[in-house]
Symmetry: C2
């Protein structure tokens, strides 16, 4: 049973001092490694790890080919400005090979998880000689994994899996007593800038979760372009999250007065407090029309754009 620490009563400096001591004690004079995605949790644990271990923590950004446009450069630049060097490892070929022919969403998530842990990151860890892996698991991840709502990839211990036996390293999860609001408070105390917290949530399987059906290089590139349009136009709205989803269904369209059997992009924009329940944002119709026009203009092969109007439940935030 994990003892929750609530954000409201949390003394950040005390928490940091305790966790720094714990991480130092666990790692001893060895080295640790962590994977940084650019999300709030992994960014916060990166800062905490560097506070604890300095250069004895190696931080890796795995370029899986599934991230948003410019993501790797943005993450590296941000952390460099905070004095943390991030190493980018290009693993695109391995991820797309693992995703080849995969259409079932669960199998897709599993393929990404396995490629990350067993192949790419597992290899990086083995070659690094590090015996400790720092992870940004939070209490909500544990809850949702135990409840079977979500498959989180970073809660082995709670599932009865021994990562040392399975993967050859020990996992440290210094944020596991916190929920999202606690992590945000901690991240700010560790010096992370506001632009990081202002980013909308992004799923673990990244753009592979934004493609219905097979996540090929070409289809991920299509949804990446559509995502850039949606994020550009909706930046600054008070919505909880917004996204573009590439459908597998083909629909009839017309280009240059000829029929074109083209693709459809679905746009979702959610109002929500904590993602447990959510309603589609009541965007002005002019904004919807602007999004549609920009996607049709800038994303090759797309002839149709829709906007989600179903709440969660029975919908979910993501489509796959």
């Amino acid at each position: 049973m994990i003892q929750e620490i609530k954000a409201a009563g949390m003394d950040c400096e005390k928490f940091i001092a305790e966790k720094v001591a714990e991480v130092r004690e666990a790692v001893g004079d060895g080295t640790a490694i962590n994977a940084l995605s650019g999300g709030v949790d992994s960014s916060t644990v990166t800062m905490l790890g560097h506070r604890s271990l300095g250069k004895r923590l190696r931080t890796v950004f795995v370029e899986n080919g599934l991230m948003r446009r410019g993501e790797a450069g943005w993450v590296v630049g941000l952390f460099r400005s905070l004095g943390v060097e991030v190493e980018v490892v290009d693993a695109r070929d391995e991820f797309f090979a693992a995703l080849s022919g995969v259409t079932d969403p669960e199998v897709k998530r599993e393929a990404i998880t396995q490629t990350f842990y067993r192949r790419v990151f597992g290899r990086i860890v083995r070659e690094s000689g590090a015996r400790h892996l720092l992870q940004g698991t939070i209490l909500t991840d544990v809850d949702e994994t135990l409840a079977g709502i979500k498959r989180q990839h970073n809660v082995f211990a709670q599932l009865g899996i021994d990562p040392q036996a399975a993967f050859g390293y020990r996992i440290l999860e210094p944020l596991v007593q916190l929920r999202k609001d606690g992590v945000r408070k901690l991240g700010r105390a560790l010096g992370l800038p506001e632009e990081l917290f202002a980013r909308i949530p992004f799923p673990g399987p990244a753009l592979a979760a934004r493609v219905i059906g097979e996540a090929t290089r070409e289809r991920v590139e299509t949804v990446r372009a559509a995502t850039a349009v949606v994020e550009e136009i909706l930046a600054g709205t008070p919505a909880f999250q917004y996204m573009a989803i590439l459908h597998e269904d083909r629909v009839t369209g017309m280009r240059d007065n000829k029929r074109q059997f083209g693709q459809q992009v679905e746009v979702r924009c959610w109002d929500s407090i904590d993602a447990r329940v959510a309603t589609p944002s009541r965007l002005p119709f002019e904004v919807l029309e602007r999004i549609a026009a920009a996607i049709l203009d800038r994303v090759p092969g797309v002839v149709s754009v829709t906007y989600n109007i179903a709440p969660k439940p029975p919908s979910t935030i993501e489509a796959v």
Copy 2:
């Protein structure tokens, strides 16, 4: 080259007298037959045919299993009130057999056309002994078929097909010089009630065109239920056309706190003058939410609802 008759300058009584004479001369003392779908064109040609031939015209409504809820009863009742008996022929098994395994939209349309002409209606005509078939072809159908935009099933002669050789009957097309507005004017002059003209356009392949992928009995039933919701809520709006489309893509949803890999319905509502160009109606968000809630509540298996926001072009009115 067909001589167009414009609605504005058209003398309906003179037109009716001329066409009645032509139809009587063509059919002589034989009999004719026609298929009534309940659309404006086939309804108008039915009235003109009965004015010409009385009971020597047999009018058939083919129940193909692809019509909207209550359609056959509505058509039969309407024409009975106008003194015209309509015979309903149940051909559902034949149509669903022909559609089995068919996913390509063109092949689907072709399967419906072929089943209608070569099998069902062809057989009805042969068994009836009629040698003349009355059809509601209008000039726009001819234009669009020649331009390759549309496959119309009722313009054989213009495509160089001899229906007498191919199907064993001669086709009479008394409306072929008119466009939609002329047919409406004529239909009113022939006594068709306003409720018929107030109906929104409905495609030839009916609900099979509203299903992406295979049009099975079950999937057509799903889109029929969604169509009923959309037509109920949007009845009375000034929109040109509105519809529900069942997607083939499966998306993640939640029912009773459990994941459900469910179906998605897309709603389209168009503002347009003549369907050549069209824009999505700027429906109030409350109306969109009401449509989504009713579909999620009343249509089994659906967990997601979207609203089309792309104009034509590059979209088209229908999805398949």
